[in-house]
């Protein structure tokens, strides 16, 4: 707020355009900068992660993955674990089916969150990310689907009604179209706004100048 946007550091896009889920992503040579070391802490409550460069994204092979793979075969693109959190990537077209299966058969009855991530250098630039929770298992699961620009993603609003607003927000911020959504309109920004602010190519000081001029009567909101 206080900072002027002019002082912006260069956008991190070029440097960081690497899918986080790629298992080959190697951590920098000095990981875990902050392990409570030395004698100061009397007894660290939990063991500190090991020093050698750890592979943070490891393939995941548990019973759930086996069942999902048996059911969806090649539509389960990837199953990995990152910092002990399970992440499944499914084929974009199968997202709604997978969601239905996970809710009904695997009891992931709460959709905690649905959002998207933009990786502009990738062929399919968007990740649609669902964070699920199962009351019965007390377990979380992250489900991802990769979607290209303009590619329709099946809506999961029929599976979890929560997704209604969450998908609208993803549409508002990224321009991802959810097929089968009951009312896919902008939710936070004005309906007539042009552009999708959370895309990486949308600059932080960018705005819809026409809208600002027409509706607020000022040259710029900055």
């Amino acid at each position: 707020m206080a900072d002027e946007p002019k002082e912006q550091q260069p956008s991190p896009v070029p440097a960081g355009d690497k899918p986080a889920s790629t298992p080959a992503a190697t951590p920098p040579s000095k990981p875990a900068t902050g392990a409570p070391t030395g004698a100061t802490p009397p007894k660290p409550a939990a063991p500190v992660p090991p020093k050698p460069p750890v592979q943070l994204q490891t393939p995941l092979n548990n019973e759930l993955v086996t069942r999902v793979r048996a059911k969806f075969g090649a539509a389960l693109v990837e199953a990995i674990e990152d910092r002990k959190q399970a992440i499944l990537t499914v084929e974009c077209g199968k997202l709604a089916e997978a969601a239905q299966y996970l809710r009904d058969e695997e009891k992931f009855d709460l959709l905690s969150d649905l959002t998207a991530v933009d990786w502009p250098k990738r062929e399919k630039r968007f990740d649609v990310v669902l964070n699920l929770y199962s009351f019965v298992k007390n377990e979380r699961l992250r489900v991802k689907a990769r979607a290209g620009d303009g590619e329709e993603v099946p809506s999961v609003a029929g599976v979890w009604p929560t997704a209604n607003w969450l998908e609208r927000e993803a549409f508002d911020m990224f321009g991802i179209v959810f097929a089968g959504h009951p009312n896919l309109t902008r939710i936070l920004l004005p309906d007539e706004w042009q552009g999708y602010p959370l895309r990486k190519d949308y600059d932080i000081i960018e705005q819809d100048t026409t809208w600002v001029k027409d509706n607020l009567g000022i040259e710029s909101g900055q």
Binding site: Q9, P28, T33, G34, P41, P42, L110, F135, P161, W165
Partner: protein, 380 residues
């Protein structure tokens, strides 16, 4: 306030008069919407037959800002989301980044964090109680609630210099050591607070007007609550015993004994009872925590420049309003690649339409109040 008995007669009258639906605009500048919430109500006489929440008036693009700040620089921004529970926001953010860095805050820091976060829960619930009661017509509780809330804000001020947007925690632990009389202050507050809760309950729990305005209003059944993604007191009042503090303990919650209050019918009255009991439980947690604050450092060694190894993490905490989640992706640079905030108010507000249908316009005010939303968090 059921109108079923008169429905038939009224329908006849309506056909006679040719009465039509009316669209009523409520807000964004309306005292009972607790901020800049705009609700489009479709009315049949006094009855709500449909509604639409228009949000975004307070949208500041917090998630976009996060991508252009370093991990530490972004921490104060999260205080401005749920600005009546800034400490909880900060706790969630710091813990998420700690998970990303694979560091743990030292035990002493975790206990002090727990104390302050529970005080914040009480403060947030007090603000809710005061304004909710005020909306419905009970003026007195507001003054009582603000009196107690003031004591908590004073503790925050003594601890970190700020009352509302506290930025009390740092990634890796705490910046400030607990001041000398923190334990005493918390103890004094907790002791004084017990009879005060009783005072509020004396004013409201058996109050005929309160019962009339809250019982059977805005019912949300357990399965609907889960389907709508409602969390926090809203979910618990519907009878689902789920609290992240118990289910997936963070900070120092695994060390303390406390109960999770649940409701049965999921109406406004149940949500009231659940939040009242939560205040009592938070008070008990504070009392247990101050008894034994472990000695030791307050900040883990995290370094000045934070560059979490590439990867991602989702971490959520039980904020006063529900599940507050942070989904953070690191690309190995000093700035987060993406920070997604899962706001409890935003998701809970989605259930509003379902809860308001069939009720009177006057009840809309009660239902907005009972959802306990903060627009800074809804819009981010």
């Amino acid at each position: 306030m059921s109108t079923d008995t008169t429905t038939d007669a009224r329908d006849k009258q309506q056909t006679l008069l040719g009465a039509d639906e009316l669209v009523l605009n409520m807000g964004p500048q309306h005292p009972s919407t607790h901020g800049v919430l705009r609700v489009k109500l479709k009315l049949d006489g006094e009855r709500v037959i449909g509604s639409e929440c228009m949000i975004g008036y307070l949208h500041r693009g917090v998630e976009k800002i996060a991508e252009h700040r370093s991990y530490q620089q972004f921490a104060p921004y999260v205080d401005r989301m749920d600005y009546v529970a800034a400490v909880s926001n900060g706790l969630g953010y710091c813990e998420a980044i700690e998970k990303l860095l694979m560091v743990e805050a030292p035990p002493r820091a975790r206990v002090i964090r727990t104390i302050l976060t529970e005080l914040q829960r009480i403060a947030s619930h007090l603000l809710w109680l005061g304004t909710h009661a005020l909306d419905i017509g009970a003026l007195t509780p507001l003054f009582y609630c603000f009196r107690e809330r003031e004591e908590i804000l004073k503790i925050f001020e003594k601890y970190c210099g700020a009352r509302l947007t506290t930025h009390a925690f740092r990634i890796g632990g705490l910046q400030y050591e607990a001041y000398d009389t923190l334990e005493k202050d918390v103890e004094n507050f907790c002791k004084a607070f017990e009879p005060r809760i009783k005072d509020y309950e004396d004013l409201l729990t058996q109050n005929r007007i309160w019962l009339g305005r809250t019982k059977g209003i805005g019912i949300l059944k357990a399965e609907d609550a889960i389907a709508m993604g409602a969390t926090g007191p809203v979910l618990r009042a519907s009878g689902v015993k789920w609290d992240i503090r118990k289910a997936m303990p963070y900070a120092a919650y695994d060390q303390y004994k406390f109960e999770i209050p649940v409701g049965t019918t999921g109406d406004t009255y149940d949500r009231y009872l659940v939040r009242m009991e939560e205040m009592r439980q938070s008070r008990l947690i504070c009392l247990q925590a101050i008894e034994n604050i472990p000695a030791g450092p307050i900040l883990a060694k995290v370094g000045k420049v934070l560059k979490p190894p590439p990867g991602e993490v989702y971490h959520s905490i039980e904020a006063p309003k529900g599940e507050l989640g942070y989904y953070v992706i690191s690309d190995g640079t000093v700035q987060p690649y993406r920070v997604r905030i899962r706001p409890p108010s935003f998701v809970n507000l989605q259930a509003f339409d379902q809860m308001a249908r069939g009720h009177l316009v006057a009840d809309v005010v009660a239902i907005i109040g009972t959802l306990d939303i903060v627009l800074g968090e809804v819009d981010r």
